[in-house]
């Protein structure tokens, strides 16, 4: 719509080869052994992009297989391993680390006026643990991959002929990385805030990072223990979850979802943090309610721990348990609804400009609101009986978890691209990319809601021919999405070397990370930062705020 020029209100004062975290050193060692949170953020960003590409290729093969019922390009066993590895790679190698480790690492210390995170060396260690875990998963892939589904439901995973043990061990290792990052962020937020920066003046992205750190620190150990036991069960026939040896497979489901439901919030909370920053900056507006966002973040973090049973309505839990988990699930949805209304109302009487990150905000809003509403629908118990384990659920969680996280991740990538790289990305190409990403995504997953309604179970290699038209639409959508991702990553890569030089604050934002030059110097700020004003103060021009 409006194409107002939003660039450069700050006077250009650019000493040409200024020292930044990027050019202080160029050796491989200076990257590999860096304790600079910004460089570690870059390492994570690059690695997670590779993980996403791998998971994306799996997804494209899966979708292509579904062009026709029966065998199309792979056999059933390969299909089963592909959907398992797609889930594992996307959840643990991409979505969980994507925003916190790349953007959180880069921005959290800058946003609170710190020189680095509280434990810089632990930060580097967490990256290498992540790398080790990822390589371990790749080894498992090379050993044939795992065919249990990313949920590893017992007793199937106890007896599966595939590489269960290396896979769960890889995820076990990845968990350590998550925990270390979480602890690091919590301590950083508590102890490293600049003088005078109170809790309720922090940028809301920091709140999101804080909330997600709490969840990942508390929940990940439960997953680690459960998966370790699955590995031992498989390897040594321990039988803790195997009824043939007196174990209880439903206990496994409780333990797994105790982690994996909060894990959904591990994926979505950082995305919400990105979105509020984007919407405030490009609307030139304070958040409609700062406290509503901050408290609902904590609400999600804590209530999210008590809703796992809604994954088990047909797994044989009691009517009373189901009702309790049902009402708690409705409650946690309220916190998300609060956030949605706050984002939308933030634009009210603002000064809204459409940029690529803003287009991604609208894509995010659409996927999150519609996906979230279908979430309320599946949390309704009698409806879940029909939808559980069908394509409806697949479409639901891809909308809300994958679509929202991915569009927010792309919004973050564009929004902070000038800050991170010191270059601008090409705006028009960004519009094209964002439009294609959204169209491809919608076309992939909207038909799957209907497939689920019609009763098509998930994880089916073969399907009834009546479902073919919807599957074909979905597959074409996936191809568009894949092409859109290649397009986006390509122009960003070109912009990295050829893009226009970025000023310190190209978006005319008031948030603290834009106070420092782009890219930031090694120790984040040229002078000791003074956060005299609110990060969302758009009542006066930027120069006054940043004076």
């Amino acid at each position: 719509m409006t194409t107002v020029d939003i660039a450069v209100p700050v006077p250009a004062r650019r000493p040409t080869p200024r020292e930044s975290y990027l050019n202080v050193a160029h050796t491989v060692k200076s990257w590999a052994l860096t304790t600079d949170h910004k460089r570690i953020g870059i390492l994570y960003l690059v690695t997670t992009v590779f993980a996403m590409a791998l998971g994306g290729v799996f997804a494209l093969v899966l979708r292509t297989e579904h062009l026709s019922p029966g065998p199309t390009i792979v056999d059933a066993y390969t299909y089963n391993r592909l959907f398992t590895m797609h889930g594992i790679v996307m959840v643990w190698l991409f979505m969980i680390p994507s925003i916190p480790t790349a953007f959180g690492n880069f921005l959290l210390p800058i946003m609170i006026g710190a020189k680095d995170v509280a434990f810089p060396r632990l930060n580097l260690l967490s990256y290498y643990i992540y790398l080790l875990g990822s390589i371990w998963v790749l080894i498992a892939l090379w050993a044939g991959g795992c065919d249990t589904g990313w949920t590893f439901y017992t007793p199937y995973s106890d007896h599966s002929p595939s590489a269960v043990v290396p896979t769960v061990f890889g995820i076990f290792i990845l968990g350590w990385s998550t925990i270390i990052t979480g602890v690091n962020f919590i301590v950083t937020t508590h102890t490293m805030r600049a003088k005078g920066l109170g809790w309720f003046r922090m940028p809301l992205f920091v709140w999101a990072m804080y909330g997600v750190s709490i969840i990942q620190t508390l929940a990940t150990p439960v997953l680690a223990i459960s998966l370790l036991v699955v590995g031992i069960d498989h390897w040594f026939d321990w039988g803790l979850f195997d009824p043939a040896r007196g174990g209880d497979p439903v206990l496994y489901q409780h333990l797994f979802w105790f982690y994996s439901h909060p894990a959904v919030y591990i994926m979505i909370l950082p995305a919400m943090g990105v979105i509020i920053e984007v919407v405030c900056t490009f609307s030139h507006k304070n958040p409609a309610s700062y406290k509503a966002i901050a408290y609902s973040t904590l609400g999600i973090a804590f209530v999210g721990f008590a809703t796992w049973g809604h994954h088990m309505f047909v797994a044989g839990i009691s009517v009373f348990d189901a009702a309790a988990f049902g009402v708690l699930s409705m409650l946690v949805a309220i916190f998300s609804a609060i956030k949605v209304f706050t984002w939308v109302l933030t634009m009210r009487r603002g000064s809204v400009v459409v940029t690529t990150p803003m287009l991604y905000f609208f894509a995010f809003l659409f996927l999150f609101v519609f996906g979230g509403m279908t979430g309320v629908a599946v949390a309704t118990q009698s409806l879940d009986v029909h939808w559980h384990d069908t394509y409806f659920v697949v479409a639901h969680f891809h909308f809300i978890m994958v679509g929202s996280t991915m569009t927010a991740w792309l919004a973050a990538l564009h929004y902070w691209f000038p800050k991170i790289t010191g270059r601008m990305y090409p705006e028009r190409m960004g519009y094209v990319g964002a439009t294609l990403v959204f169209s491809g995504f919608f076309m992939t997953f909207f038909p799957q809601f209907l497939l689920g309604n019609a009763g098509m179970p998930r994880r089916y290699y073969d399907y009834d021919p009546q479902f073919q038209p919807l599957h074909v639409v979905s597959t074409v959508g996936a191809w568009i999405l894949g092409a859109a991702m290649i397009w986006t990553l390509t122009y960003l890569l070109v912009a990295l070397f050829r893009g226009e030089r970025a000023p310190a604050n190209p978006w005319d934002s008031r948030s603290y990370e834009w106070l420092t030059p782009s890219p930031p110097p090694k120790h984040n700020f040229v002078r000791e930062p003074v956060f005299a004003r609110d990060p969302y103060d758009y009542t006066v021009p930027a120069e006054e705020v940043h004076a």
């Binding site: 107002v4 209100p9 390009i73 792979v74 056999d75 059933a76 066993y77 390969t78 592909l82 892939l141 050993a143 044939g144 589904g149 439901y153 199937y156 007896h159 002929p161 009824p243 209880d248 497979p249 439903v250 609307s283 030139h284 304070n286 797994a315 044989g316 009517v319 189901a322 009702a323 049902g326 009402v327 409650l331 309220i334 984002w343 939308v344 634009m347 000064s351 809204v352 459409v354 609208f362 609101v369 519609f370 509403m373 309320v376 629908a377 309704t380 009698s382 409806l383 879940d384 029909h386 384990d389 069908t390 209907l450 497939l451 179970p457 994880r459 089916y460 758009y538 009542t539 006066v540």
Partner: protein, 346 residues
């Protein structure tokens, strides 16, 4: 109206007594939530249009949503969600509690078939026969891994868990055949773990109760191979599948995964049914479950007779089928089973 909505939402027919009630809630929930979502999204577009930036560096007033407005919005949404919950939870309780006069049928899930046992001692594989307008209680368990008994047309689903017995119930409202799917992932042939529920009118059901059984042994073997799920993995025309083909198998030499060559005689064939993991045919995956305690003696005899009858079966033209190979290159290429005689069941 109901028919139109069923079509728009692509829902299966409402063949059980509670299906209509569930769908009614479905219409209400999907209707209100989609309306709400559309409203929110349009509101965002409206703000985008109304409050677009007029000039660079534009400043704005500081606005804060008032607390009463927040409470009103949150309270409104919460009461709608709680309404969903109250109706949904009570319907769920109804679905979970079988009526006292329900007719029991025992259901066993197994890789990759459904077995139904009736009160009169008979049993059936992959076909559940029930009378219309009579509540049926399913007493369900699994023999190996978790499966899920799903009848879309009944809006009914229940996991079956090894070592546990769960009950579920339905009362069919119309005659006909409806799909039964396995909804919980259970291994290679998960998507083939299909069955039918056949709803008969009361007179037809009475006739069905006195069905006869006929046929020669090899033909009966063919039926059993279909009913017991053998044909999900083994073909009758010489093409290798998840397991080796039955055609041209009897009395032929077979190379095992440890390199030894055995002859596919009757002893080998029966052992492969009962202890399939002991002798694995070279380059096949050890995925076959045991049939010990599942196949009755006459059934084993009929299956062996079927395989014997296929001894000189002409082999279907060779086609390249997708092979079971690891994602990496862990397996040696070029040693896949040849589509010819000499392949063995495990």
């Amino acid at each position: 109206m109901n028919d139109l909505l069923l079509k728009i939402l692509d829902l299966p027919p409402q063949a059980s007594t509670y299906a209509f009630d569930v769908d009614l809630l479905h219409y209400f929930v999907i209707g209100t939530t989609m309306l709400g979502a559309t409203f929110v999204f349009l509101l965002a577009l409206w703000f985008l249009f109304m409050h677009r930036r007029r000039f660079p560096g534009e400043t704005t007033q500081r606005l804060q949503t008032s607390v009463p407005a927040e409470i009103l919005i949150i309270g409104g949404i919460l009461s709608l969600f709680l309404l969903f919950w109250v109706v949904g939870a009570s319907e769920y309780a109804h679905i979970q509690h079988p009526p006292d006069d329900a007719m029991p049928v025992y259901v066993t899930g197994k890789q990759w078939m459904w077995k139904f046992a009736y009160q009169d001692g008979r049993s059936d594989i992959d076909v559940l026969t029930v009378p219309v307008h009579r509540p049926v209680k399913l007493v369900m368990t699994s023999r190996d891994v978790i499966h899920s008994f799903y009848v879309p047309a009944f809006r009914m689903k229940q996991d079956v868990v090894p070592g546990r017995y769960y009950t579920a119930w339905f009362e069919a409202q119309q005659t006909g055949e409806f799909d039964i799917d396995c909804a919980e992932y259970c291994g290679v042939s998960h998507s083939r773990m299909l069955a039918k529920v056949r709803v008969l009118s009361q007179p037809d059901y009475a006739r069905w109760l006195e069905r006869p059984q006929t046929g020669d042994l090899a033909a009966r073997g063919r039926d059993i191979a279909a009913k017991r799920g053998c044909l999900s993995c083994h073909t009758l025309d010489g093409q290798p599948h998840i397991g080796p083909s039955f055609a041209g198998l009897y009395d032929a030499p077979v190379r095992l995964s440890d390199g030894t060559i055995v002859t596919a005689d009757v002893a080998y064939l029966t052992r492969s049914m009962m202890d399939p993991q002991v002798q694995i045919v070279d380059s096949y995956k050890p995925v076959m479950p045991t049939y010990r305690g599942i196949l009755e003696e006459p059934e084993v005899a009929a299956l062996v007779e079927l395989i014997v009858s296929l001894k000189d079966q002409p082999i279907a033209p060779s086609v390249v089928l997708p092979r079971t190979q690891p994602l990496g290159s862990a397996q040696r290429l070029g040693e896949g089973p040849q589509p010819s005689a000499g392949e063995q069941p495990r």
